[in-house]
Amino acid sequence: MVLSRRAVMLAPGLGWLALLLVIPCGIIFVHSFFERGIYGGIDYVFTLENYRRAIDPLYLRIFLASVRIALTATAIALLLGYPAAYFIALQAKRRQMPLLILIMLPFWSNYLIRTYAWIVLLNREGLINRGLIDLGVIDTPLSLLYNDFAVITGLVYGYVPFMILALYSSISKLGPDLREASTDLGAGAWRTFLRITLPLTLPGIAAGCIFVFVLSIGNFVTPDLLGGKQRAMLGNLIYGQFLTARDWPFGAALAFILIAIMMLLLSAQAWLVNREREIAP
C-alpha cells in the first residue's frame, strides 16, 4: 500500500525524466555506433570508428584543454566560494536567507545576457581597461577577452553560486559546538579550520566542485562568446559536429563520453552525500 502510493507519486517525475532525459541519451548512445551519411544524416551501419576518432590526439587535446579550464574554474570558484559560504553560515539565522537570495539573484536574468555583459566589461574599450587607463595604472589596454582568462572568468562567475550553496549547506550543518570544542582544547582559529571545519565540510566541497566542474566542462556558450573561435572546449566541439560539420554519429560519441564522465562524477557526489548522512547523528 505504502509502496504503491510512493510509486504513484514518483511516476510523473520519473516519466518526465525518462521521456526527456533517458530516451534522448539512449538515442545518442545508439547513434554513436553508426556511420555518417555522405550528406550528413546517418548511415545505419555499425562501427566503432567514432570512438576511435574521439581519442585521436587532435580531439584529445581539446578534451584535455577543456578539463584544464573546467578544473581551473572549479578551483577558483572554491577559493572564492568557501569564505563567502562560511561567512553566511556564521551569521544569525534570520540574516542567512537574505544573503542566500542575494547569491542566487543573478539566476533571475538570462545566462546568455550575463555572458554578453562580460564582453562589455572585458573588451579593449571595456569598463575595466578604460578604468585602469584613466587611473593611470596601465598605458595600453590589456587583452582580457577572447582567451582562457575570459572563459574561466565567465565560468567562475556563472557557477560560483552553486559552489556557495553546496558549501553553505555543509558548513551550516556543522554548528558552533565542534569549533568551540577545538578552541577549548587549545587550537587557534587556523588549526581549528584545518583540523575540524575543513575535513567535516569535505562532502560539501566535493559536491560544489563536482557541480561546477560538470557544468563547466559541458558549457559551450561561454567559450563561444568569451573564448573566441580557436579556443574551443568539448562543448563547442560537440556543438560543431552536430550543427556545422553535420557529423552526427561522431558528435553523439563525443556527447556520450561527456555524459558518461558527468554521470560518474554525479554518482560519486550522491554517494558522498549519502555517506555523510549516515555518519552525522
Binding site: 559546538d177 578552541t183 577549548d184 582544547l185 575535513p199 567535516l200 547523528p281
Partner: protein, 355 residues
C-alpha cells in the same frame, strides 16, 4: 593572591538583549573543590560556564584564575577545559584521536602522546574502544570520551555542563560516583552544572543554587538541605511542606492549627509573616489521636519501594501535607485512601522562611 582561591568571580553580568542571563554574580572557588552550579533551566548556568571558559565576554565584572585576570584571554589560552553539554565529539576522529587532540595542540607527539592517551582511556575505562568513531558509541561511552578529552590536558579547572544530563537514571547514578572518584584521583577542580538537585547533593563539596542569574544560596549540601534561605531554595532542593504563619511571643502561630516551635524562631522578630517549612520525611504519622497531633484524611499514597509517600489533608484547614515514611514504618502496610491519621513534627525539624 590568596592561595586558597583558585577561581575568583567578581560581580559579573551578562545580558542577551532584554534577557539578563547572569546578574552581578560573585563567587570564589578553592583549589581541588568539587563545586556544583545548581538551578532550573534558563537560570544562566551555561552562560556562567561559558564566561569562565572564555566563550562569552562578561558585560561587567572580572574573572580571575589563580590570581591572573582572564579578561581578554582567548579560550584556547586559558588553563581551563569545558566538557560541552552536547559532548561535541569530533565525528571524523576516533576515540583516541578525540582524546589526544588537546595534547596535539600543545605539541605532544609520538610515544608521549600515545602513552597519555592510553592513561586517559584507562581513567575512564574505555581502553577497548580506542579506534571507534563516536557515532558507533553509546551515550554513556560518548560521555566518557568527552570527559577524557577534557581531562587529558590536566587543566587547573574543569567545567562540566550537565555532564550526565543525557544518560538514563541507572547510568547517571553510577557516573556520579565515578565522576567523584576521577575528581579525587586527578585533584583537578571541578565545576559541574546541573539542574538535578539530587546529583548536586550527591557529588558536590559545595553548591551554589542559582535563580535568575543570581546566587540564591551558597553552601555545603547539608546546609542547603537543612537550612534553605528562602522558599525558592526550599522548594528546589528536595520536597518540602509549607505552612504560612506569624511569629509570636511563644512560638509560631499557624492559623487554624495552633502555635508551634521552629529551629530558627529566635532569628526572626515578633509579628513577622513567615512560612514554616517541614521536610516530608520529618513528619510523623500516627494511627490514633494523641496530644498536639493534627488529624487529617489520607488523600493518596505513592509507593516508592524503599519509601511510601502519603498525602494527608488536614481536617482543620484543608491544607495538604506530604509525609514520607520509610518502608520499615509500622503504618506503611495498611494505609488506605480516606483513612484518618494524625501527624506532628519535632520543633527542631521545622524551619521558618521569611519569603
Amino acid at each position: 593572591m590568596d592561595a586558597n582561591v583558585l577561581l575568583e568571580i567578581n560581580g559579573i553580568s551578562k545580558s542577551f538583549g532584554a534577557i539578563t542571563a547572569v546578574d552581578d554574580l560573585t563567587l570564589r572557588i578553592a583549589p581541588g573543590e568539587f563545586f556544583a552550579l545548581l538551578g532550573p533551566s534558563g537560570c544562566g548556568k551555561t552562560t556562567l560556564l561559558r564566561m569562565i571558559a572564555g566563550f562569552e565576554t562578561p558585560d561587567r565584572g572580572q574573572i580571575r584564575l589563580a590570581g591572573s585576570d582572564m579578561t581578554g584571554i582567548k579560550p584556547n589560552r586559558r588553563p581551563i577545559n569545558l566538557m560541552f553539554q552536547s559532548y561535541a565529539l569530533f565525528p571524523h576522529m576516533t576515540v583516541a584521536g578525540n582524546i589526544g587532540y588537546g595534547l596535539e595542540m600543545e605539541g605532544v607527539r609520538g610515544p608521549g602522546l600515545k602513552r597519555r592517551v592510553g592513561e586517559a582511556l584507562e581513567l575512564v575505562q574505555l581502553g577497548a574502544l580506542a579506534d571507534r568513531k563516536p557515532h558507533r558509541l553509546s551515550g554513556g561511552q560518548r560521555q566518557r570520551v568527552a570527559l577524557a578529552r577534557a581531562l587529558i590536558k590536566r587543566p587547573k579547572l574543569l567545567l562540566l555542563d550537565e555532564p550526565l544530563g543525557a544518560l538514563d537514571r541507572k547510568l547517571r547514578e553510577q557516573m556520579q560516583i565515578e565522576l567523584k572518584r576521577i575528581q579525587r584521583d586527578t585533584g583537578i577542580t571541578f565545576i559541574v552544572v546541573t539542574h538535578d538537585q539530587e546529583e548536586a547533593l550527591t557529588m558536590a563539596d559545595r553548591i551554589a543554587l542559582l535563580g535568575q542569574g543570581r546566587i540564591v544560596q551558597l553552601g555545603r549540601p547539608r546546609e542547603l538541605y537543612e537550612a534553605p534561605v528562602n522558599r525558592f531554595a526550599a522548594d528546589f532542593i528536595g520536597m518540602m511542606n509549607f505552612l504560612p504563619g506569624k511569629v509570636t511571643a511563644d512560638g509560631v502561630a499557624l492559623p487554624g492549627l495552633g502555635v508551634f516551635q521552629a529551629s530558627n524562631r529566635s532569628d526572626l522578630p515578633q509579628g513577622v509573616e513567615v512560612v514554616m517549612a517541614i521536610r516530608p520525611e520529618r513528619l510523623r504519622l500516627y494511627a490514633e489521636a494523641r496530644a498536639a497531633a493534627l488529624p487529617g484524611a489520607v488523600e493518596g499514597t505513592a509507593y516508592l519501594g524503599q519509601d511510601l509517600i502519603v498525602h494527608l489533608r488536614l481536617d482543620a484547614t484543608g491544607q495538604m501535607l506530604i509525609a514520607r515514611l520509610t518502608a520499615g514504618h509500622d503504618l506503611t502496610r495498611d494505609i488506605t485512601t480516606g483513612q484518618r491519621l494524625w501527624c506532628d513534627w519535632p520543633g527542631a525539624q521545622a524551619r521558618l522562611l521569611a519569603d
